[in-house]
Amino acid sequence: MTTTAELLKGAAELFPDEVVTQAHVRHLDLPKGAGRFALITLDNGLDHTKPTTFGPQSLAHLNVAIDQVEKEAADGGIVGVGITGKPFIFAVGADLKGVELLKRHEDALAIGKGGHDVFTRLSGLAVPTFAYYNGAAMGGGVEVGLHCSYRTVSKALPAFSLPEVFLGLVPGWGGCVLLPNLIGPDRAVSVIIENSLNQNKQLKGEQVFDLGIADALFEGADFLEQSLIWTASVLTGETEVARPELDRGAAWDEAVARGKAVADGKVHGAAPAAYRALDIIAAAKNAGSAREGFDTETLFALENVALADLIMGGELRSGLYAFHLVQKRAKRPAGAPDKALARPVTKVGVVGAGLMASQLALLFARRLEVPVVLTDIDQARIDKGVEYVHGEIDKLLLKGRVNQDKANRLKGLVTGHLDKAAAFGDADFVIEAVFEEMGVKQQVFAEVEAVVPEHAILATNTSSLSVTEMASKLKNPERVVGFHFFNPVAILPLLEIVRAEKTDDASLATAFAVAKSLKKTAVLVKDAPAFVVNRILTRFMGEIQNVIDEGTSVAVAEKAVEPLGLPMSPLVLLELVGPAIGLHVSETLHGAFPERFTVSPNLKAVVDAGKRGFYVYSAENGFKPELDPEVAALLQQGDAVLTEEQVRDRVLDAVAQEIGLMLDEGVVAEAQDIDLCLITGAGWPFHLGGITPYLDRAGVSERVTGKKFLAPGLASVPA
């Protein structure tokens, strides 16, 4: 049998670049004369910007620390063992870089087993064990604490989660088994499944305590002192820790069923992690509490296998790929010029005072905190726009998102002016959000150019017009950039930054700098029709519309793409965008690429009939979408009825073809940018890595374009 030490040594050889976490053992005298205590500090020797993680060598260090305290506990030298982290960080779990390097199922299994072997020793010590969650705790960090007898948590703890399901894993170092047995299955489902699938929602210290994960909550200022005093009071019997009786009957099954419903709602069965986690939570039902000596080995073995299967599967790699996209690539946009070239932006102009323009004004004022001036063709429109922004600021004030001083400041920043010269004479950045028509936009830019300073950037929020053409009649076309936001502007992170033919580096650098201040994810795109997100969405929607037009039922067409895990079905999305706008964009793209983009006669009929969507909603039906009988009557369908699978193939082939062409045209630097755009601009699923990992894995990209979009190892198990 392989010892834990050997197991970890083997794993460590696969991962030579691990940032190693040490486990320091220090002894102290507890207050209240409670006795000698060993406190383990997890510390990777770096500051809080490099959080502590667990790789194989780190686990080996913890193992050695436990060797020491195990002996001391057995010899009666200590009355208890604690574990805590370096300042601001407890531990944030397994080192993902190491997980990505794993190529063999047996190695992945070793990682799962190694963690279990080390962590379970904590619960096997001859003395009680205490975890002090002093700072950020995630994944394996949370789990090491779950193996302890007691836990305290700091009120100042900013982030606590089991993010494994979010990434495509299961909490596999005890989380799936121990958490439901500590706080009950329903709460465990909330933490493991619901929070994870809800954009990796983090818990704060107080919530960790309220959920019952921690037995005591202390303020940050003297968290460790109070935790140790509390420890002393537990050990002396002064404090008794009550744990809830768990309902191991129907309530357990209901909780698991609720988790399944949550998972279905989010990933529609397309990502296995949540389901694997739920299987283990279900199995943990009859476990009893960890302290009652139940057969953890069998349950932990389930975790190990699930972990290894998932590590070797594509979904985890896709999740990690998406994680890297939004954490790393989003911060260093591919192709962006040297940021030193960026010019300061101390005043912003917005042409137009409609809804979009007003939303932009609010965003610029909030994030840049510089004056923002709106203009429009008459005072009434301007007043309405400014009033809208002020109203939104009042809402923020009411919600406590800004205080009165900040609200006053923001309101003071947003003004309107009928005279463009007065409004924009000292603006550094002017963005237009007027009607989507080339003539109008060219006219607006000409007027603006006449009054702005020489260095001012002219930006357009166009979603489909050529930025190059828009700039073509200006004296200084090099200052024009596309600056395409996604609705709702305040929520969706994506900003497509368009380089037109003559855009110079300084203007582009300024655009990227502004995007960063706006806290947007900027992606550089070429001046091509509809840029990235709208082009792919339109092709995707067009193909759905095509199969419906040809004869497939609306229900089958909609259901066919559920495995893609989109935030909403295609026709619900159409409703949100507005059928008229959808039609308009499809007409634009049809103009550019008539051979691939169609204009659906049925969609046109729906628009002409003044319908706002395909569905109606009623209370009797629980507000679920039902095909509007009036729309059904309008539909003219052919007789080519496809199965769900056939529809899915058609749609995915179309999407893969379009992406292949976009990459050939150089619309973006790499396929990664397509996925980054879809994740941050259209809410396409994180767990699938956007779309190209899925297309690669399902064999669609090779079928359609002859090759995969991504290099091996990028979003797949390395070769």
Binding site: H24, L39, T41, P87, D222, L224, E225, L228
Partner: protein, 413 residues
């Protein structure tokens, strides 16, 4: 409009365990402001009936007010301790008597009616801020012979005091120091010290200093129980060849913090807060800087005169032991025996340590506990010498006093 001065009381006092300054000391990696923050929070925890919003002021002392002891510590530590933003604060400095001066300044404000209740304390992290850090003495001190050069070096001033009072020999100083260690060890054994300590979590990342990781400071680090005259006899005299002042008969270089609650007596009673000592009078006095250790003598004379008391009325003494000779000089002045049981019953700074600006409140906290234990005593003093030639003395009355006489003769001899 005429106004009546209000009685001022010491409600409660706490301190951190004191540490040894330097790379191996327990607080080497702990910030000074954090030390005093933990004291303020402990005061609030110990006095749950006190609504923090009722605190009118936070006066904190530090000698070297830079870095983590700067930035108007009274204000910043208040915010860090979680006091409401409405509670103001300021920093204060009278070197070793910093915390004592924080208490007397606050007391003046309370008596005048400006404050009802306030926090007064001090901190000195002599490891992070060694004595003399950043000082820039005016050259006129030397050129015009305003003070002797030795005035800036406290050890030298203690040697000077031995010169002035040659009958206070090194042997007497060492014997006093041995007793201080014995008394401190005994007070620890009786639990008389720990009750007013707030534990402090301490981090260590340097393995040369000991086990690394997080630990907990629960006791004074400088203590040397079991010290004998023989141990002390051989120690170096760093301030003068063949001198008398050694590391054994002086306080060391230390890190630590203290804090107290000072209130108007009527307010404390109304809020249901403890009343541990009642302020009778206080005085500060200046002496020649080169013999600063004699400072407590004129300060005590002055305070007693103001209070209309004599030294015979004083039943308990808490004298800061910066140097044994400086304690002996005060006792000598009043004809009190070196081993008088009224003096420093729990031992003193020679054993516990002396983190300069924090020590004043340690004296008060210990006197308060002794008052409670000895209700037959009516009056006690806390007194200390101060750099650059000063002394400070505060006279306290025991609110637990039960007797008809001032008590010390019956009680202690």
């Amino acid at each position: 409009m005429p106004r009546t001065a209000r009685d001022v009381v010491f409600v409660d006092g706490v301190r951190t365990p004191f540490g040894k300054a330097g790379p191996k000391g327990i607080y080497h990696e702990t910030r000074a402001d954090d030390l005093v923050v933990k004291c303020i929070r402990e005061l609030l925890r110990r006095n749950p009936d006190l609504d923090p919003a009722k605190i009118d002021e936070v006066a904190l002392a530090a000698t070297t007010q830079i870095g983590d002891q700067g930035l108007t510590l009274g204000r910043t530590a208040g915010i860090l301790a979680g006091l409401p933003q409405s509670v103001p604060g300021f920093s204060i400095d009278r070197m070793c008597a910093g915390a004592m001066t924080a208490v007397t300044s606050i007391a003046g404000g309370v008596s005048f009616g400006a404050y009802d209740i306030a926090v007064a304390g001090g901190v000195e992290h002599m490891g992070r801020h060694p004595m003399g850090e950043g000082v820039d003495p005016n050259p006129r001190f030397v050129s015009e012979k305003l003070v002797d050069q030795s005035a800036l070096f406290m050890g030298m001033t203690a040697e000077n005091l031995h010169d002035r009072l040659p009958h206070l020999t090194k042997e007497r100083a060492d014997a006093y120091a041995v007793r201080s260690q014995e008394k401190a060890a005994k007070a620890y054994a009786n639990g008389q010290i720990q009750a007013d300590l707030v534990p402090v979590s301490v981090r260590r990342t340097n393995a040369e200093a000991g086990e690394i990781g997080w630990g907990l400071a629960t006791a004074d680090e400088p203590m040397r129980p079991g010290t004998t005259l023989e141990n002390l006899a051989g120690l170096k005299t760093p301030f003068r060849p063949h001198g008398r002042v050694t590391a054994g008969n002086a306080a060391g270089l230390n890190d630590g913090a203290t804090a107290s609650l000072i209130a108007a007596e009527d307010v404390a009673r109304e809020l249901g807060l403890p009343v541990k000592m009642r302020l009778v009078d206080y005085a500060f006095a200046g002496v020649e800087p080169e013999v600063m250790g004699i400072g407590p003598v004129p300060a005590t004379e002055k305070a007693l005169a103001k209070a209309g008391l004599t030294i015979d009325d004083i039943g308990l003494f808490e004298i800061n032991e910066a140097f044994a000779v400086q304690v002996l000089s005060l006792l000598d002045h009043y004809g009190i025996a070196d081993d008088d049981p009224r003096v420093n019953q729990y031992g003193g700074a020679i054993a516990f340590g002396h983190p300069l600006a924090s020590s004043g409140v340690r004296l008060m906290t210990q006197l308060a506990r002794q008052f409670e234990e000895q209700p037959h005593v009516r009056y006690g003093i806390t007194t200390m010498c101060v750099g650059f030639g000063m002394g400070g003395t505060v006279i306290w009355e025991n609110p637990h006093w039960s007797g008809a006489t001032n008590g010390h003769r019956e009680g202690n001899k």
